[in-house]
Amino acid sequence: MIRVLFFGRLSDRAGIEPWRLPAEGIATVADLIARVAARDPALGRELAAPEVLVAVNQRVVSRSAKVAAGDEVAFLPPVTGG
């Protein structure tokens, strides 16, 4: 399984609980986004926005980065701390 986290405005749509998605057929972040889009097209469009960063196991990566079972993938809209 892949653990998927959504923050900020994305959590309004996806919820604050992590999603657990089967890893079968998912090799990259782009694959994962496609899987999310199949379940929720509007959320998929939000994840495709270039200002949304993606972290795999808490490291920011590109959308072509590899994803495998056991990974934690987080979608990060622009941060606003401080």
């Binding site: 972290a55 808490q58 987080a74 622009p78 606003t80 401080g82």
Partner: protein, 156 residues
């Protein structure tokens, strides 16, 4: 000598006098603190703020804060650094964040506190939602914050 470092993410408020005493106990000659407060008005929504909701990415946030504090310690000779960032629901006027830097001289203390705040605003994995009497919205990063953070990319 390595700086003493204290990084905390918590729902509870903090005790400014206690944190300041800890900073001063490092033997520093200069202590600079920055405190961020929940504003009464939202300049984008133009509504009266009823509360602020702060979310973060546990684990990743702590690591990022550790990295930026290390970066500050590489740039300047610091005696002690404290970063406390609150999460959860906050009311107008409540404190959100404390950045405190102790150093032997004031220039590095001011510079390090400003750098830490600029990075906190633009890099650390926090998200803010403002709830006003005209509705709720997740805040966007302001261009001035992007510019403020970009100045540290230049050679110092």
């Amino acid at each position: 000598m390595a700086a003493a470092v204290r990084i905390r993410i918590q729902e509870a408020d903090f005790d400014l006098a206690a944190e300041h005493a800890w900073l001063a106990a490092s033997g520093a000659g200069a202590v600079v603190t920055f405190t961020g407060l929940v504003r009464e008005f939202d300049r984008d929504l133009e509504g009266r703020v009823e509360g602020l909701f702060l979310q973060h990415y546990p684990g990743m946030t702590e690591r990022l804060l550790g990295e930026v504090v290390e970066e500050a310690c590489r740039r300047w000779p610091l005696c002690a650094v404290v970063v406390i960032h609150r999460v959860g629901r906050l009311a107008p006027g409540e404190r959100i964040v404390l950045v405190g830097v102790a150093a032997h001289h004031r220039a590095p203390a001011f510079a390090a506190a400003a750098l830490l705040m600029d990075y906190l605003k633009t890099r650390a994995t926090f998200w803010k939602r403002t709830d006003t009497d005209r509705g709720s919205r997740w805040l966007d990063l302001h261009d001035e914050d992007r510019r403020a953070a970009a100045r540290w990319e230049e050679p110092w």
